[in-house]
Structures are given as C-alpha cells and as structure tokens.
C-alpha cells in the first residue's frame, strides 16, 4: 500500500514486512490523514514474524506528534505480542530537532528494537 507524498504529508509505503515514512508531516487534518495509515498498519503488522519500520521525517507539527505516538504505541504492543519489530528513526546530521524527537519516542518503546540513525545530509 502506498500513500503518496503531498506538500504537507510524507510518503508512506506499507507491505506485510515493512513500513517506510519519508517527508514532512503537518496535514490540514491529522485524523483524516492518519486514520487510513494506522488502519493499513493494523492490517500489515503481524501477518509475518517480523516487521521493519524506516522513518525519516524532516518536520512534523505538534498535532502529528500524537499520530507518531499512537503509531509507536501500536508497534510496541505488537512487539509485546511476539512480532519481531525493528524501528529505524532516521534524522539528518545536525537536525537536532528530529534527533531529539527520535530520542523522545525511544523512551516509551520497550519491546521494539529501536535505532537512531544519522542519515545523509539534505538533498542527498
């Protein structure tokens, strides 16, 4: 499943084993955008033994933070149920805002393997 990138929403690609999120996230209406994404996640995670997540966001607003929190909470619950889940939070070098955001989410994750990954600089 694929949710195309728009000016205010990231690209989301979802399969039974992998989820990729790249871009900026400050939708006009967060629940309108996030509900189908979370529904797709629920359909995909658990159909196989393992699930990998790659997230690379350059900016998200405070309303989207709640979506990300719910997203990780769902993954962590699934990992608790036995699915092997790896989350890679990618941030650009020197983007301390996104680095801190990644650290903040990490603190509430207990059952997923969570990696903070410094990505290539802008426009790479």
């Amino acid at each position: 499943m694929r949710f195309e990138k728009t000016q205010r929403t990231p690209l989301v690609e979802m399969s039974n084993s992998h989820c990729l999120i790249v871009g900026e996230c400050y939708p006009e209406n967060i629940s309108e955008w996030s509900q189908p994404v979370l529904a797709a996640l629920e359909d995909c995670v658990g159909t196989q033994d393992s699930f990998d997540v790659d997230i690379e966001l350059y900016y998200f607003n405070s309303s989207s933070a709640k979506f990300l929190f719910d997203f990780f909470e769902f993954l962590d619950d699934k990992a608790d149920e036995g699915v092997s889940i790896v989350v890679n939070w990618r941030y650009r070098a020197e983007d301390d805002t996104m680095q801190e955001a990644g650290e903040d989410f990490e603190e509430d994750i207990e059952n997923c393997t969570y990696n903070l990954v410094e990505a290539e600089p802008a426009d790479a």
Binding site: Y59, N61, S62, S63, F69
Partner: protein, 177 residues
C-alpha cells in the same frame, strides 16, 4: 485614500526587517499555499537547515493557533482572522502572531504560558512527552502540544494581552537564533 499610507507600510515592513507577513482570514488551505514562500524566504539568508526548520515549526504552530482559536471570524465563511509575521533582525528570527480571543480563553492561556515561561528545556521536553501520553486537555482542538512545541523551539518568547476592547488581542512573539 491619503491616510492609507502605502509607501509608509512598505517602509515600515522594510525597517522592521519583516520578510513575511500575512494579515487577514487564515485557513488550512491558505496555510498550505503560504508555506512554500515562507520556506523559500527562510533559505534566502543561508540559514542553517536546523534553524530554518525551527522557525518554520514555530510559524506553523502560530498559524494553526490562529486558525483554531481566533475569536474574530469572517462573516460569510467563518474563517479565523489574525496576523502572522516573520522578521530577521541581527541574525535572529522573530516570529509573531496576533489574534483576537474571548475573555474566557484569556485566563487559561495566560496560566499556560506563564507556566511554560518558567520551565527550562529539560522540563519542557518532559512535559511534552507527558502531554503526548495523557492526550489533549479538554479545551484543546489540537493535541494541546502547540505552545510546548513552540517553547522548545524558541530561544525565548513573550506574550501579551491587549485589553483595550471587549475582546482581548493575544500577542505571541518567539525568537529563534
């Protein structure tokens, strides 16, 4: 039309080094449209990406606060009215927003912002995570995180209520460097 000082407006904006200003009805659709030129302006001064992102983040939260909470609405569409501006003075960005609020909103807002102004970055970070877990307070149309988010991104902020009329004007200024 002589009292509409057009050149004066231009010179005033130039003098206060305002690189972007919008005043009028603000909607999410309009915010989508103005986001691009704002981003563009922020890269004009060879601003490091991390700083530009911080300025943009404060700008978006301020704009969405106007959209959600301004008590001044257009007659036909009911769109929220406010003013938002970004200026660049002595290597520091100033992001400003003004909108009318109801007197009932004022006391809650004042309390929230006073509390935030006393917290250091570590406490703000802790509060942000706590609020994410707890969910929004009852009177919030967003996640209730907007002002905490802004406080985390700015070097300092000021707020004020201009009480000259029945409905107070809420003024918020944040500095990013």
């Amino acid at each position: 039309m002589t009292n509409l000082d057009t050149v004066g407006l231009h010179e005033f904006m130039q003098r206060r080094k305002t690189l972007f200003c919008y005043s009028g009805p603000l909607t999410e659709e309009l915010l989508t449209t103005i986001s691009n030129p704002v981003r563009h302006q922020l890269t004009e001064n060879e601003t490091p990406e991390a700083i530009a992102n911080r300025v943009f983040g404060v700008f978006i939260e301020q704009a969405q606060n106007i959209i959600r909470y301004s008590s001044q609405k257009t007659r036909a569409a009911g769109d929220s009215v406010g003013t938002i501006a970004i200026s660049y003075i002595d290597d520091t960005f100033l992001i400003e927003a003004v909108n009318q609020i109801s007197s009932t909103q004022k006391s809650a807002l004042e309390k929230t912002l006073l509390e935030l102004s006393l917290k250091d970055q570590k406490d703000l970070r802790k509060l942000y995570r706590q609020r994410l877990k707890d969910g929004p307070p009852e009177d919030s149309k967003g996640a209730g995180l907007g002002f905490i988010e802004m406080a985390r991104r700015v070097k300092r902020f000021e707020f004020d209520f201009n009480d000259s009329e029945d409905n107070p004007m809420f003024v918020y200024r944040g500095w990013v460097e």
